[in-house]
């Protein structure tokens, strides 16, 4: 019988490679490290108190029935089962996806066109940039109030404008066929500013010699846009895409002010249902579980975005 056993201790040695010698810090290095830790302690405390603990608590509370006024009771996966079976949360999830699907690409496309236009050295360029960026830095509630007036079926600007062309007005926010589209319009409009800013920054980093070379080769403006500008903006585009998706999934303020999720839940979103569970129904456990579902959606979207941009890193 041929022995195939390894010599005693050989396997052990293979499994336990020689220990790495710990780097011995000098006294000065230790002081430096200690100082460094002390310097970041406030930030770490802040991170632990306001981010880590709430996140862990949210995951834990998602498995409980917690109504704020009495201690949480462990209910296992019951909240998640209810979420899956709840037609309103399913509607909210679908609305959020539709909202994201339309607001993100539409506002990205418009932002790109505006950024390219504003990168041409137009007169009053800074004024235009400020104007386009203004919605981003204005409170959403204030913006929503203005849009409430624009959408007003009787005195609103939109119906008055359509009336000039003989087009009948609509009850934009009261009609379930139009309410979500109205909210999408506001979301797309408001998101243009920040995307435009990122695109302008990215456009200014494109090497001008590429355009010069293309011009020498006789490329048209459109050809240069699609053959140089768009490919060179790919990293910025993916960055904008990821942050836009995250922002779109977190839409809340404009729903709260414009429609309260109505009519008949036509515009309710995941974040709005989280709010309703927490502050209208006092179901913090359910709200936490819904937040976890939202988090999983966002994580998935972010991972997809990262995977898509991997070649650019």
């Amino acid at each position: 019988m041929t022995s195939t056993e390894t010599p005693a201790g050989a396997g052990l040695a293979a499994r336990n490679p020689a220990p790495v010698r710990r780097h011995k810090y000098s006294r000065a290095e230790r002081k430096l490290r200690r100082t460094g830790w002390l310097m970041i302690t406030p930030a770490l405390l802040h991170l632990a108190l306001w981010t880590a603990i709430p996140v862990v608590a949210t995951f834990a509370l998602g498995f409980t029935n917690y109504n704020v006024f009495s201690p949480p009771q462990w209910v296992g996966l019951q909240n998640y089962v209810e979420i899956v079976q709840d037609p309103v949360f399913r509607k909210a999830t679908w609305n959020t996806i539709v909202y994201t699907f339309w607001t993100v690409p539409v506002s990205m496309a418009i932002a790109l066109v505006i950024a390219v236009a504003l990168n041409q050295g137009l007169r009053f360029q800074k004024w235009y940039r400020t104007a386009f960026f203004l919605p981003q830095v204005t409170a959403t509630v204030a913006i929503a109030m203005v849009w409430l007036w624009i959408f007003n079926p009787q005195q609103g600007l939109l119906n008055a404008f359509l009336g000039l062309f003989g087009i009948p007005g609509q009850a934009w926010l009261a009609d379930p066929d139009w309410a979500l589209w109205s909210v999408i319009l506001v979301g797309a409009w408001q998101g243009i500013g920040i995307k435009m800013l990122i695109y302008i920054a990215a456009l200014q980093n494109i090497d001008g010699s590429l355009y010069e070379a293309a011009s020498v080769d006789g490329a048209s403006t459109v050809r240069k846009f699609f053959a140089i500008t768009v490919p060179m903006l790919k990293p910025a585009t993916f960055f904008v895409l990821v942050i836009s998706i995250i922002n779109a999934f977190q839409v809340f303020d404009q729903i709260y002010v414009l429609t309260n999720g109505g009519p008949a839940n036509a515009t309710t979103m995941m974040t709005y249902e989280v709010y309703r569970s927490a502050f209208e129904e006092f179901r913090m456990g359910m709200a936490s579980a819904q937040s976890v579902v939202l988090f999983i959606f966002l994580l998935f979207m972010t991972l997809v975005g990262r995977r898509a941009t991997r070649e650019d890193h």
Partner: protein, 437 residues
């Protein structure tokens, strides 16, 4: 070098201290102050907080801080009141976060239908243990109002103001169409509404025959439910009854008024409309809040002469009342000071001033004779008919489910669901919420 090293050590020490201090500050910032000296003068004293959805806006704030609280301080100079203003829309959030953080305000104003939930959770002090018994309150308030502040045998809220919903008719328009009185039945309501609806040649609605959409859909439904002779819950508040025949016929009537009789179009008005359509002639009749009178005094006083309030008559009498009650936290650090403020705010003078500022209905029966009530026909009408008015709420879980009413009612009005199905689905949600209690 030694100096540098010492400086660095001092700096790192200071940084550590700052970090610890920051952490302690962060951890302790949510707790109530409780540092004031109770009984400094031997009488009632303390720093207390008041959370209020009334006294909102500049006028309300001025009334409370420049007129009412100075009166309170005359009697209680050692009490300091910090006021946290909010709206009914945000009150839930305020109370929830306060309960979570343990910083529950000493005195809280809350609405009809809210008392049960917070009393059941032990947040409110029982007033009956402090002499404000149900029997005593019944001497000065109507039974329905007292009932709205009680839960499980205790009194938890002192009534301050009521807000009512009932029908309002533009009598000038009715008389032009040959009607000399507001509708006295559902059939008449439908008939007159149809007769007074005006549309342009292209079908655009110019005047609604009956405006249903300027109020919260839940409260409109409740008013029609009451007029059908129905109730939200059974007598011992253990199961919903709004999906019974009365509720279904009420929602069917609302649905028919819009979709079959076309007396108003979806989107024609909304609860946040700048001007109520009854005030600018865009509606001949409608369901209205009693503060329409106050709005009318500012917008068009002459129009008020044409408007006539009426109880919506069906199998029962349709008049809804909500309201604002003063409550005291069960965990107040200064219960005597909080109780003093609560009783001051519920007393005739401050209550009347608060009602006048909001155009609402005083809860105290004795204020029926006040100049304010006698000069406000809508408030007067409300007080004279409070015996037929019904309220919302009932079970402790009411706050959890009341937000579910609007989508259900809207789905019926929009034709997405039959009234019976919409109300059955809603009742199932209510059952689930009640079972969770």
């Amino acid at each position: 070098m030694i100096i540098k090293s010492q400086s660095r050590r001092r700096f790192t020490g200071a940084a550590a201290l700052a970090a610890v201090a920051l952490g302690i500050t962060a951890c302790s910032s949510g707790t109530s102050s409780g540092t004031d000296a109770e009984g400094g003068s031997g009488d009632v004293s303390g720093d207390i907080t008041l959370l209020t959805p009334i006294f909102e806006g500049t006028d309300g704030q001025q009334l409370l801080e420049d007129e009412l609280l100075p009166q309170f301080y005359e009697d209680y100079p050692d009490v300091t009141v910090s006021v946290d203003y909010t709206t009914y829309g945000n009150l839930n959030e305020k109370l929830t976060t306060a309960a979570v953080s343990g910083a529950v305000p000493d005195v809280m104003m809350m609405g009809v239908g809210w008392i049960e939930g917070f009393a059941d959770r032990g947040l409110l002090a029982d007033q009956s243990e402090l002499g404000n018994t149900e029997e005593k309150l019944l001497e000065t308030y109507t039974p329905a109002i007292v009932d709205a502040g009680t839960w499980d045998g205790g009194v938890y809220g002192m009534p301050i103001m009521l807000d009512t919903r009932y029908g309002v008719a533009n009598m000038e328009l009715l008389e032009e169409a040959g009607y000399d009185a507001p509708p006295s039945s559902w059939d008449e309501l439908v008939e007159i509404s149809e007769a007074l609806t005006v549309r342009a040649d292209d079908g655009t609605l110019e005047r609604a025959g009956f405006d249903l959409l300027s109020n919260d859909p839940r409260q409109v439904f409740e008013t029609f439910l009451f007029s059908a002779g129905g109730d939200l819950f059974n007598e011992d508040v253990t199961e919903p009854t709004f999906n019974g025949p009365e509720g279904v016929s009420a929602l069917q009537l609302m649905t028919d008024l819009i979709n079959e009789h076309e007396v108003e179009d979806i989107g024609f008005s909304s609860p946040d409309a700048a001007v109520n359509p009854l005030l600018n002639g865009r509606a001949a009749m409608g369901l209205a809040h009693n503060n329409l009178w106050t709005q009318g005094l500012e917008a068009d006083p002459e129009m008020l002469e044409k408007l006539e309030p009426f109880v919506i008559q069906g199998e029962g009498e349709g008049m809804f009342f909500g309201g604002t009650f003063a409550t005291r936290s069960a965990t107040s650090q200064h219960p005597e000071a909080a109780q003093a403020l609560l009783e001051f705010l519920a007393s005739p003078g401050p209550a009347l001033a608060a009602n006048e500022q909001r155009g609402n209905v005083p809860a105290l029966t004795e204020l029926l004779d006040s100049d304010y009530v006698q000069s406000n026909r809508f408030v007067q009408f409300s007080m004279e008919n409070l015996d037929v008015a019904k309220r919302e709420g009932g079970p402790p879980s009411w706050l959890e489910v009341r937000g579910d009413f609007a989508p259900a009612i809207e789905s019926a009005l929009l034709g997405q669901a039959e009234p019976q199905a919409a109300l059955d689905d809603l009742a199932a949600l209510v059952d689930e919420a009640m079972a969770r209690q």
